[in-house]
């Protein structure tokens, strides 16, 4: 049962200058999810990301320039549609997401169109404080209401999308900063996708550390709120609802 779901599932891994970590992350995906289809979208890296990823055995789509996570993901969703994959799981290239949780996300897809791997829902130890925490709280409350489900970690990039969400995202996946997490949720909710969250443990990123500088955190809060306001204020585009 799970195996057949895997055959029609594509893991999309957006990567921007990740030559140091991506090889290990790919090998880990193949080790924990044997036989999984893995597409790395090289988001205009200037380093050896694409070559390292190919060597590790992944399919690699190379974007000619940097489009941001959202841009890379839409290319991934388009690829999924083109090749007939039903589900797409997004896993970050920095090793923050443990591929071992992917089957749980996929299982949850049986009763939802979009599943978010949430960091604060009891598992793992991921802590944030200050403005970043407020931003996440505001986002969680507002987006939970929009989505009609309790969401605690709306900026998590660890997600699984079912066929309905894949179709919507292949056409409308925002490329703006934070749009890939926040606005994508609004778009999915508005086009009638059922959204759920599943607790997952996250690890410390293998490259770089999350910023604790209060100035940057405050800027993040501001940008998150602006992104949220725009996402909610946008007219739901007519092409969205009309499907299935």
């Amino acid at each position: 049962m799970v195996e057949s779901a895997w055959e029609r599932t594509l893991v999309v891994m957006p990567a921007f200058n990740e030559e140091e970590s991506i090889g290990d992350v790919i090998r880990e995906v193949f080790a924990k999810l044997p036989g999984m289809n893995l597409l790395v979208v090289d988001d205009g890296s200037v380093d050896d990301t694409a070559r390292v990823a190919r060597k590790a055995g992944a399919m690699v789509a190379v974007l000619p320039f940097n489009l941001g996570v959202g841009g890379a993901m839409r290319a991934g969703f388009k690829f999924a549609i083109e090749r007939g994959y039903r589900n797409v799981v997004q896993i970050d290239a920095d090793g923050q997401h443990d591929p071992a949780s992917a089957p749980r996300l996929l299982e949850a897809l049986e009763s939802a169109d979009l599943v978010i791997g949430a960091r604060f829902a009891g598992e793992g130890e991921y802590r944030v404080t200050g403005p970043r925490k407020w931003a996440m709280r505001i986002l969680a409350v507002t987006l939970s209401r929009t989505a009609g489900a309790r969401l605690t970690d709306t900026t998590s990039g660890y997600r699984a999308a079912g066929p309905k969400a894949v179709a919507v995202f292949a056409a409308h996946y925002p490329a703006e900063y934070l749009g890939d997490t926040i606005e994508a949720l609004v778009i999915a909710a508005r086009s009638g996708c059922v959204i759920r969250q599943v607790p997952v443990a996250m690890r410390v990123r293998s490259g770089g550390v999350p910023s604790h500088d209060p100035g940057r955190a405050a800027a993040y809060l501001g940008r998150a709120c602006i992104a949220l306001l725009f996402a909610l204020a946008r007219p739901s585009s007519p092409g969205l609802v009309r499907d299935a």
């Binding site: 979208v41 399919m59 690699v60 974007l63 290319a75």
Partner: protein, 127 residues
């Protein structure tokens, strides 16, 4: 108004219009981008030739100094042009994004095809 400044006004307005029309004629400027420049040029020409229109319109709109009306309209048109350009830029970016996606996906297909071809050629050589 003194004659030199009267003539100077008309000549500059005509010059702007002339440049816009010439660019349009040579297809270096598309109509929809030229719209606001044409409006500005025509307005400037009218006001240049008939300064009385300005002296009539300014008090009507509550401007004490007629020249302020000129500044107001000029700045307004510049803002509109800048906005139009920002919107165009957004449109172009979204088109570029689609092209980038297509190029990435086609590159992927091409690689797969090349690989398959290489395999088959190798097989043929052996067999």
């Amino acid at each position: 108004m003194e004659t030199p400044s009267y003539i100077f006004g008309i000549v500059s307005a005509a010059l702007v219009l002339g440049v816009v029309v010439e660019l349009l004629r040579r297809r270096q400027l598309r109509e929809r981008h030229a719209l606001w420049w044409l409006v500005a040029g025509v307005l400037a020409l009218i006001v240049g030739i008939f300064p009385s229109t300005l002296r009539w319109a300014a008090p009507l709109l509550g401007f004490e100094l007629p020249i302020n009306l000129v500044f107001f309209v000029s700045i307004g048109i510049l803002v509109l042009v800048a906005l139009q350009h920002s919107a165009e830029l957004t449109l172009l970016e979204s088109k570029t994004r689609v092209l980038a996606e297509q190029s990435a996906l086609q590159d992927l297909r091409l690689r797969a095809l090349e690989q398959q071809l290489a395999l088959e050629t190798a097989k043929k050589r052996q067999g």
